[in-house]
């Protein structure tokens, strides 16, 4: 029976093929068949992960917390120089210049990306805004968030910084960034499930070594990553503790 791999749905659409290339590369390294499944929905993916469907997960930080603490997964590596940061943006023509200019009742456009939404809501707390006095609209992608900002239906939208940076120059030129998080220590992780733990060290080694050879480097390029670095158990616990402080 092949192993199962899934990837947090917040990668840029341009990197979909990169994850399939990575899957082929992983199969060669492990000498086993791996089925890669990608999702549009964070919730649907989380349900399947909870049901024990996956052995390998490239997870966003909030899901990593659940995977380690509740499901016995082990974090092996994190992407090099790729912290998960959040942007709140508005229309460039708007009179809103900072999050404090957003009023109760404001229309917020978001995806269902749990870490982006949590960090963004934390940044809105400084303006006395929360779920009870804002109107959130969840849409399928960051491009649709941007579209709603451009057409004026959103007072502000939430973006993963990487996704914002990958929007076209034309779209970004019509938006204004109100705030960007600078947290640095919250990032994606690559984890293995309980069934694969005896191969954890081996997998960690070849993921870390990936950027050292030309083939591995080209696979990383296709995923928009520079490489992977080791994530120790204590570093994982530290990140999970930190995320825990962000959940009320």
């Amino acid at each position: 029976m092949p192993l199962n791999l899934t990837v947090s749905p917040d990668f840029a659409p341009s990197h979909i093929s990169g994850w399939f290339i990575f899957n082929t590369w992983m199969q060669r390294q492990l000498g086993e068949g791996i089925h890669l499944e990608l999702y549009d929905s964070f919730d649907a993916q989380r349900e399947d992960i909870k049901a024990g469907k996956y052995d390998l997960v490239y997870a966003n930080p909030f899901d990593a917390s659940m995977l380690v603490r509740d499901l016995g997964f082990k974090a092996l590596v994190r992407p090099l120089a790729k912290a998960d940061e959040t942007i709140i943006a508005t229309n460039a023509d708007s009179s809103i210049r900072s999050v404090e200019d957003l009023d109760p009742g404001c229309q917020l456009y978001t995806t269902d990306d749990p870490d982006v939404n949590r960090i963004a809501m934390i940044m809105l707390e400084a303006a006395d805004l929360d779920e009870s006095n804002t109107q959130s609209h969840t849409v399928d992608s960051y491009v649709i968030v941007a579209r709603n900002i451009l057409k004026g239906s959103a007072d502000a939208g939430f973006f993963l910084k990487d996704a914002y940076d990958e929007l076209s120059d034309l779209i970004r030129s019509q938006m204004r960034v109100l705030i960007t998080s600078e947290i640095s220590v919250v990032h994606h992780t690559f984890l293995v499930g309980p069934k694969l733990q005896e191969r954890a060290e081996e997998i960690q080694k070849f993921l870390i070594a990936m950027s050292n050879d030309a083939k591995g480097k080209s696979v990383l390029d296709s995923m928009g990553l520079q490489g992977f670095e080791e994530m120790t158990e204590e570093e994982t616990e530290f990140m999970i503790d930190l995320i825990d402080t962000l959940i009320d």
């Binding site: 934390i122 940044m123 705030i179 960007t180 220590v185 402080t245």
Partner: protein, 153 residues
């Protein structure tokens, strides 16, 4: 930063819950919270700092090496009532998460407000320390806290 700041300078004796005290200079001047950042620190079970991120170094005014090993109470501002911290310790020692609004004292005597969350770090069922994460509070929460803390001093 606060419209009520006077820039007045006063020397105060701050008493800590371990029986020690220090005399320090306090300046009535607020330093604005850095946008988008979290101030992160960890302590051992006695409150001695074991980790401080760059935002903590910048906001506290201490160098990183001055913070490590110091008790977290060096940030305690004399305008903060002792009861706020006893509530914090009771909560986290019982294994729960604590939230609160805190006025912190910088090394230069100025102050900054934070919304703080502290959680116990539990490893293999044992509390090995605490993580404190601070974020930007709203002005309304600061005003409410100032009014409340005055009644508790």
């Amino acid at each position: 930063m606060s419209e009520h700041d006077t820039n007045d300078v006063r020397d105060v004796v701050i008493k800590y819950n371990d029986g020690t005290s220090r005399t320090t200079t306090v300046v009535d001047r607020e330093v604005p919270y850095p946008e988008g950042k979290l101030i992160v620190s960890r302590t051992d079970t006695k409150g001695n700092i074991t980790h401080a991120n760059q935002a903590f170094v910048e906001m506290s005014g201490y160098m990183h090496e001055e913070l490590i090993g110091q008790n977290h109470y060096i940030l305690r501002h004399p305008d903060m009532p002792a009861v706020a911290f006893s509530g914090l310790w009771e909560t986290i020692q019982s294994g729960k998460k604590w939230h609160g609004y805190v006025k912190n004292l910088r090394k230069d005597g100025a102050y900054y407000w934070v919304k703080a969350t502290v959680i116990p770090n539990i490893r293999k069922g044992v509390v090995v320390g605490y993580t404190s994460v601070r974020r930007k509070p709203s002005r309304s929460k600061i005003s409410e806290s100032e009014a409340l803390y005055k009644t508790l001093l």
